[in-house]
Subunit: 345 residues, 2 copies
């Protein structure tokens, strides 16, 4: 079995470990979000961690009703004109904790006396050393270059933080059911991969989602792209309609992520325009009606609250990424020219 598959299958156990070990850390970290002088959240990240940051943008924004923004590291590193962070709580997300650009944003926040939090799989990393509080991802060592369990645990850590900020016992209970749900999702998704054999000759794909799953769309695109070397991209349906749909033509695969919930209709509303162009739709959903409209249904286990659907919705994308790589004869443990840790300024 590849490292990729073994770590993909380890996700339920990794998530359970995070939830049991980091509960009190999450509660300690949550206190800083409730400070009177916090008016917004600033997140620094790269790669898969930026997709966890997109999840945080929706979840933390709703938890304490403050806007969440992403740092522009070049203002800190290249232009050396860091902004005033008055009003900010600053969060760094990095699996390795090693990328200098992410650590530099937290270092500046600390210089300015602002509260800082690191979500990282390495509690001794340069990023962790810049942070007042650390949520350890508890994913264990990840060998695969393409992140699976560290991504899941990054969004799990964001969900844990959301429940802690809100002091929301019901949310916590929902989250604690997710390792068992993930187990079922992995079985279900591996059972549906045979559907993918018709996509052996594609040259790329577009992933569409909105709201809490906007980050899932980016993670799905990145995962398929890393493993298959296909050109895969992500859009919100609203952004797609403002021009980029021009490139979607006959036979082009579109992965739509549309679990039941407030954002579903925004995604399904663009299906007609996609069908008119002859796109082939792969639908990730727990909803019968949405799955019925797809060329390729990629079902989700039902009964998951929308705010936690990014945990299940990424699984069919991971399995699709693995299958696309196999269809192209590629080794998932050696994706073209990538390294596990990337250092950028």
């Amino acid at each position: 079995m590849s490292w990729l598959e073994s770590e993909l299958r380890e996700q339920p156990a990794a998530l359970a470990r995070l939830l049991s070990r980091q509960r009190s850390n999450a509660e300690a970290a949550a206190a800083a979000f409730r400070r009177d002088d916090v008016r917004y959240v600033l997140i620094a990240s790269r790669g898969s961690s930026s997709n966890a940051a997109r999840y945080a943008q929706y979840l933390l924004g709703r938890a304490n009703r403050v806007p969440v923004m992403f740092a522009t590291p070049s203002l800190y590193t290249i232009y050396e004109q860091p902004p005033s962070l008055d009003g900010a709580i600053v969060v760094g997300i990095s699996q390795s904790g090693a990328s200098p650009d992410v650590a530099s944003v937290l270092a500046e926040a600390r210089r300015q006396g602002r509260p800082t939090l690191a979500l990282t799989n390495d509690a001794e990393s340069p990023l962790a050393r810049q942070a007042d509080a650390v949520l350890s991802l508890e994913a264990g060592e990840e060998h695969s270059v393409a992140a699976t369990k560290t991504y899941t645990n990054s969004i799990g850590a964001v969900a844990l933080l959301f429940a802690a900020i809100g002091g929301d016992g019901a949310a916590r209970a929902e989250l604690e059911r997710m390792p068992e749900v993930l187990e079922r999702q992995i079985e279900l998704s591996f059972a549906t991969t045979p559907h993918l054999d018709g996509y052996a000759a594609v040259t790329g794909a577009t992933v569409v989602a909105r709201g809490v799953n906007y980050g899932t769309a980016h993670e799905a695109a990145l995962k398929i792209r890393e493993l298959s070397s296909l050109v895969v991209e992500a859009y919100s349906p609203a952004d797609l309609m403002h021009g980029p749909i021009a490139a979607i033509g006959r036979g082009w695969p579109v992965v739509a992520i549309a679990p039941a919930g407030p954002a579903q209709e925004s995604v399904t509303s663009v299906l007609a325009a996609l069908e008119e162009r002859g796109a082939r739709v792969l639908m990730i959903s727990d909803s019968e009606s949405a799955l019925a409209r797809a060329d390729t249904p990629l079902p989700l286990v039902s009964g998951v609250p929308e705010w936690l659907s990014p945990l299940t919705a990424v699984i069919p994308a991971q399995v699709t990424a693995k299958r696309f790589a196999a269809l192209r004869g590629l080794d998932v443990d050696n994706p073209a020219g990538l390294r596990k840790i990337t250092l950028t300024r």
Copy 2:
């Protein structure tokens, strides 16, 4: 002559009109950015206007040293959980001013008593009606579905605002020289289009830039994509290295935007990795050494300060987009299935 070309060639005149007519409006709007209670800038936008917003993220961030973030309209429209905007000044950018999602963010800001500003080409639009202050783009009617002069004037309006916030006479003088510089850039870029005939058979492209030109990369990608129906995408070099480079293989065109300035080295530093993969590099730059490394040099007129380089750097991309469409036998005034005004929630 197509509407696209005629409006592309009208850009110097449109920019001159903006600068002469909107100076006092920009100065009035700038006052709100200097309020003591402003801790960050929140921008709502879609399509080309989001690329102007990316320019604003760097420029306004440096002008008054506060972070600039982008709104997540679905929190306002789909989830109906708008964040508290305490500390914000809220800017809407929309050429038509008609998209409900952008106007809804300004409406919420107004409900919360926060200062609002609209950058729009229609001063009577729904967006303009939600704003305390309006910077009119002064682009005149734009017939082409693919925006050229309204984009240029959007970033021109951001530059005008930057100079006004800083009370920076030297910056204003630099900006006022730009219509004449744009004139020369358009001539230069049309003279270099023959270089593009070798790209007739490509299926897509990747555009790379950083810092003030990160938005230019997205606009270049969107413009080529809209007109040629090719799959074109944009990345910062740092993000590209964190996984997405896996999809770049032999013969794939990479448009690198690297004018002289602090961000240049970050872009040129990834050229070796791209060359190793056999990518074909089209280089938009005013620097001899950068142009010399490219398969296809797309020169910029020299002597433009880096902060204004997005005004010139988009021109070779617009001309490239037009040429790619011609190579594919497409009508630039009727891009595949697009409409001039897109209404999204």
